[in-house]
Structure formats: C-alpha cells, structure tokens
C-alpha cells in the first residue's frame, strides 16, 4: 500500500517523526515499569497489558495534540488492529507451546507402539497404539464414503444442476455445513446403533465423520471445478469427446490439485472430531483392528477421557496423545498448503 502517502493536509501540518514516536513509547514503558516497581502492582501479564494500554493512549494523545484529530484516530485504529493480531496469535502460541511442553514428557516410541491393555489409571505405562489405529481406520473409512460421494455431488451441482434441484442441493450442502458434530453423532446413534441395532463400532464413528466431511469436500470440489477454464471443456467437445468423458478425463484432472487440498483439509478437520465418536464408536483399551465389530478407541476419545480422569497418569497420557493428534493434523494442513502453491488454477 504505497498509496498511503501523506495526505495533502500534511503539507501544512506537523507530523510525528519516528524517533519522537520511539521516544514516546520508551518513555511510557519506563513510566509503567517505574509504577510497577513502586506501587503494589505486580505480575508480568498485568505489566504487559497495562503498558500496552498506556502506550496506545499516550501515542493517541500525543498525536492528537501535534498532528490533529484525524491522524490521531488513524494511529489509534492501526494500533487497535495490531493488538487484535497479537490477541489472535497469543492463544495459538500458548496452546501449541503448552501442548508440546506437556506432551513431550510422555511421547516415546513405546508410547506410540503399545495399547492400554492391562494398564489401570494408576499405572504409568501404556500407550496410544490402539487409538492411533482407530483414528486412522475411522478417518479412512469416512473419507472412502464422503470423497467419492462428495465429488459426484459437486459434479452434479456444477455440470448438470443448473436448475431448481441443483440450487436446492447447494442449499442443503450449506445446511449440512452447519450441522453441529454432536448432532451428526446423535443421528448415527438413532439410525445405525438404535434403529438398525448395529451396535457401537468404529464404522459407526466413521459414518458420523463422513456426514461432517461430506459438505467440506463438496464445497472444495465445487469451487475447483468452477475454476477450470471453459476453453478446456470446449476444446474437448470440439474434438467430439462426450460430456462425461470430458468431465472425467479433462475437468477432474485439471482440478485435482485443488480438490486434493480440499480433501486434506477436510480430513484434518474430522481427524480431531471427538463428539461423534464419543457417542457411537464405543471405546476400547485394547487393540481392535476391526472397525466393524466392537468398540474402537480413537485419539480424540483417548484425550477426552484422559482429561476427565482424576489420575495424573491419565492426564499425562492425554497430553502426549494431544501432541500426537496435533502433529498429525498440522502435517495434513501444511501438506495441503504446500499443495496449494502448486495449484495453477487458484494461486492465492
């Protein structure tokens, strides 16, 4: 934004120079530090908050008296936006930092390769192998259901659905995006577990996850398919290729990078979902590799139960599992972002 040069009135007005500003800030910080040293005020957090407020107020006041009201308000807005940025990044830093700090204590090779079989809440051993296995199987099954289905829905909406039915499908996908995860879990509970008597299983959890994943996949695929240039389709039609083959061989491959990114983000999103699997996946302390029979553990569920436990060992295990889960999700996110860079259709 080089356009933000001095407004014309600046020719007649005095402006605050950078050294003056720095001196003002330094003076305010020093005064605040003095106040904390001499009065009962104490605490690093209190100091930072009070100093930040003081700096903003002082800069605005000084600017008002030297530069006038408009520049002062402008400075206030700039500082406000900067503070908002800091307030956004702080929780991110604290969450990730504290999870790494607590999680590293227990995160070992043995922890990743053992289950909780025979480990009571009051014993320190055990691991999350069974939970990782459950999470991977459930997310894989959910994706096997939602990705093909989502792609077909997206193709219908973009390529065929230029009518009332297509519009209503798009609307329903919007509605699905807003379904709370616990409601998806309750639906699978009512339908699969209670009405069809299929019992609690990893697959029931996968069904609930698929409901949450579907709208994200449709949205991403829809957006990417729309970005495929019409000239590609027209060239294909001109060569006599039928529409369905054009879609499968020309449109989808062109959009594939973007769609893959969308799918990875969707997978990352459902990997951390706890509420649906809590209701329908049952649970297990043992390794259950069969998602169709019997309760199955998963990482989010393991963390949730550890967090609610009164045993410190359970809590420590929960932190290590949380770190593992975050690592899996972050790897998916970063990979998706890196893939976006290669996406020639949508450079953002």
């Amino acid at each position: 934004m080089t356009l933000a040069a001095r407004p014309l009135s600046g020719l007649r007005q005095s402006t605050l120079s950078r050294p003056t500003l720095l001196a003002t800030v330094a003076g305010t910080v020093a005064a605040s530090a003095g106040l904390f040293a001499l009065t009962p005020l104490a605490g690093i957090a209190d100091f930072l908050v009070l100093t930040a407020i003081a700096v903003v107020v002082v800069i605005t006041a000084v600017s008002w008296s030297v530069e006038g009201r408009r520049r002062a308000v402008d400075r206030l807005a700039t500082n406000g936006a900067l503070i908002a940025l800091v307030l956004t990044l702080l929780p991110l830093g604290f969450t990730l930092g504290y999870t790494v700090h607590r999680g590293l204590k227990r995160l070992t090779g043995a922890f990743l390769s053992h289950s909780m079989a025979g480990i009571g809440p009051q014993s320190p051993g055990g691991g999350i192998y069974h939970a990782i296995l459950g999470t991977l199987e459930q997310v894989l099954l959910a994706s096997l259901i939602s990705v093909p289905l989502g792609l077909l829905v997206a193709i219908y909406v973009t390529e065929y659905g230029r009518n009332a039915f297509g519009t209503s499908i798009r609307f329903l996908i919007d509605v699905m995006t807003g379904i709370p995860s616990i409601v998806a879990g309750l639906f699978v509970l009512s339908f699969w577990v209670l009405a069809l008597h299929r019992g609690f299983s990893g697959f029931a959890g996968a069904l609930a996850l698929a409901i949450l994943e579907l709208p994200i996949v449709v949205r991403a695929a829809e957006e990417m398919i729309r970005l495929v240039p019409a000239s590609l389709r027209e060239a294909s039609y001109a060569l006599g290729v039928p529409k369905w083959k054009t879609i499968v061989r020309i449109v989808l491959p062109t959009a594939s990078t973007g769609i893959t990114t969308g799918v990875m983000l969707a997978v990352a999103r459902v990997t951390g979902e706890t509420a649906p699997v809590l209701l329908v996946a049952g649970n297990n302390n043992f390794i259950n590799g069969d998602p169709f029979h019997g309760g199955q553990a998963s990482l989010p569920l393991f963390i949730f139960q550890g967090a609610r436990s009164s045993s410190n060992f359970d809590v420590d295990r929960a932190w290590a599992a949380a770190l593992t889960l975050i690592l899996i999700v972050v790897v998916l996110y970063v990979a998706a972002r890196l893939l976006t860079r290669r996406n020639t259709l949508a450079r953002r």
């Binding site: 934004m1 356009l3 014309l8 009135s9 605490g43 209190d46 520049r71 402008d74 807005a77 700039t78 406000g80 936006a81 900067l82 503070i83 908002a84 940025l85 956004t88 929780p91 991110l92 604290f94 969450t95 504290y98 607590r102 289905l149 077909l152 829905v153 219908y156 039915f165 297509g166 209503s168 499908i169 329903l172 919007d174 509605v175 699905m176 807003g178 379904i179 709370p180 616990i182 409601v183 309750l186 639906f187 009512s190 579907l214 060569l239 083959k245 990352a268 951390g272 706890t274 509420a275 809590l278 209701l279 989010p300 949730f304 967090a307 809590v315 949380a322 889960l325 975050i326 972050v330």
Partner: protein, 328 residues
C-alpha cells in the same frame, strides 16, 4: 474429412454409446445429489422418532423445565437451562471474538505487507486446525488457572454488572464456569470469523480504496468509508456462522463448564451447561429414556443452529439481491 482429428480415437466419439454413457454418468451424479436430500431428511426424521418417547414420557414441560438430573428415574427433565447456557456462552464468545476478528482481518488485508500477510493468514487459520478436544484439555489445565486473575479483576471493578456478580471466594478459586467456556469458544470461533471476514474484505474494489486515499483520507478513514460499508453484509454473515459454530461446539465446552442446571447471569460463578456439552458428559450415564431425552435436546440444538445458519445465508442472499437491483 475422416482422419483430421488424430487425437481422438473413434469409439470415444461414436453416437449411441456416447449418449448412453452421458445418461449413465448424469444419472450417477444425480443419485448422489438425491442422496444428500435423503440424508438430511433422515437426520431430521430419525432424531424426531428417537426423541418422541422422551417427550411423551416427560412429566414436566420439556421447554420450560430446568432440571435434567436422572431423567430415567424422575422422568422430569427440560431443556430450559441448557438452552440458556448455550445461548449465553455463545453470545459472550461473540462479544469477545468479533472486535478481535475484525481487527485481525483488517490488519491482514489492509495493513500488513503482502508477504507477511500470507504468513499471518496461515497462522490465524492454524487456530482452526487445533482439534476441539485439545482446546478443552488446554482450557482445563492451562487457561482455567490463568483466568483467575482476570475473573477477580472483573469482579472487583465491574461487579456491579450482574454478569460479574457473585461471591468473591468462588470467583477467586479455580472454577469451571460459563465465563471459561465463553473464553475457550471465543478462541475457537476467532479463526472462522476472521477467515470469512478476510475473504469479504478482499472482495472490495481496490479502485474505491485508492479513490479514498487520493482524496486525502487517512488509512483508517479509507477503511471506514470504502472498505467496511460494502463488506457489512458479509461480515454479519461471518459473525452468524461463527455463532452457529459456537452454539454446537461440544467437547471443549464440556471440559471447562460447571455442569449445573441453573439459569443465572453470573458467568464467573462455577456452574453452567450447554446442550452439546451436556450430551457429551452425561451420555455414558443415562439409560434408554435418558438417551432419548438427550436426543430431544440435540434436536433443539439442531433447530437453533439451523435458524442461525439460515439467517446468515439470508443476509448474504439479500445483500446480493440489493446489489443486483442497485446496478440494474
């Protein structure tokens, strides 16, 4: 003119099989679309069917009764306190999130240098990548102890506001409360509101911004006069979508809220509950009737979030219609 299209092999372009293939493929995608219809209808129908037994056997009014203790034995339960807690936590979270989300969106689109802006965008999106159960764990073991100072401050200086009233002893102790839930929620919906707002702000016509600056506006005046007014419907819908997310958030809230059935505005005092959190925490302890009662509360939650999300879509739709009629 037979051999001039060397790229296409003959079977690809031949008439009848082409039409059949097209019809089959169209039918396949149409079936997927119909399945979405069926799925949503099934969600509504099965929730209602499984909720009905509880609604019929409930001896009290389901919508005005507060208590939800032992629904199987007492058969007296209602969703009133849960709805109150759900709405209160979400609204509080919005109050905390919206200014920050707006600020960070404006900062990233209109203040930050381009390269840093992309990085900052990734970082704020990262907040959405953290799973809700991790926020819950973090809230329970990191945030709650660190919130005590803020709670005491709010109580001491703003205690005359009913929200921050309560006994000092309870407020100064480690406590699971509506306030704690609202703070966690505000962190969780921040990236959603910020990301959508950023997208909306980016749509603003750059020539409008340049015109404002050329007329001598400061950067803030440019934002206030050229960026925010056309973005308002988009920002409103971003806030509504954030609200929808907050209302349905389950696990993080379940770990930091007090689990009581009270209707009280005193957010700092231990207690509070939300529909989603209550389902998650009590699901393991209830019998058949209790389960049905929980499904009934889930149906109420579904209704509330549906209404909020539809309002958000309507705001976008109406803004689009206004724009079309304005340009026509």
């Amino acid at each position: 003119m037979t051999a001039v299209t060397p790229g296409v092999d003959a079977p690809l372009a031949s008439g009848r099989s082409t039409r059949r293939g097209d019809a089959a493929f169209r039918g396949l995608t149409l079936a997927a679309g119909v399945l979405v219809f069926v799925l949503l209808a099934a969600i509504a129908v099965f929730l209602v069917v499984k909720a009905l037994p509880a609604l019929q056997q409930d001896k009290a009014n389901f919508f005005t009764t507060r208590t939800f203790t032992n629904p199987d034995t007492t058969k007296v339960f209602g969703v009133a306190a849960l709805v109150f807690g759900t709405v209160l936590t979400s609204l509080l979270a919005l109050v905390m999130t919206v200014p920050v989300a707006l600020g960070v969106a404006v900062y990233i689109t209109d203040y930050a240098p381009r390269r840093i802006a992309t990085l900052l965008g990734y970082l704020t999106d990262m907040l959405a990548a953290v799973p809700s159960v991790v926020y819950g764990l973090w809230g329970l073991y990191f945030l709650l102890p660190h919130l005590i100072g803020l709670q005491v401050f709010l109580h001491d200086y703003l205690g005359w506001i009913p929200l921050f009233a309560g006994s000092s002893g309870e407020i100064a102790a480690y406590s699971k409360s509506v306030f704690a839930a609202a703070v966690i929620l505000s962190i969780m919906i921040l990236p959603i509101v910020a990301a959508i707002t950023r997208e909306v702000l980016r749509q603003v016509d750059p020539s409008q911004k340049e015109a404002a600056l050329a007329l001598g506006a400061t950067r803030w005046e440019m934002i206030r006069m050229a960026v925010l007014p056309p973005s308002r419907p988009g920002i409103v819908s971003a806030v509504m979508l954030g609200l929808g997310r907050a209302l349905g958030e389950t696990i993080a809230v379940a770990l930091v809220i007090g689990n009581t059935f009270t209707i009280s505005p005193k957010v700092l005092v231990p207690g509070g509950n939300t529909i989603a959190a209550h389902i998650a925490t009590s699901f393991g302890e209830v019998g058949t009737l209790g389960r049905s009662a929980l499904i009934a509360t889930g149906l109420v939650l579904f209704g509330i979030t549906l209404a909020v999300n539809l309002t958000a879509r309507y705001v976008i739709y109406r803004a689009g219609a206004d724009e079309r009629s304005a340009t026509a």
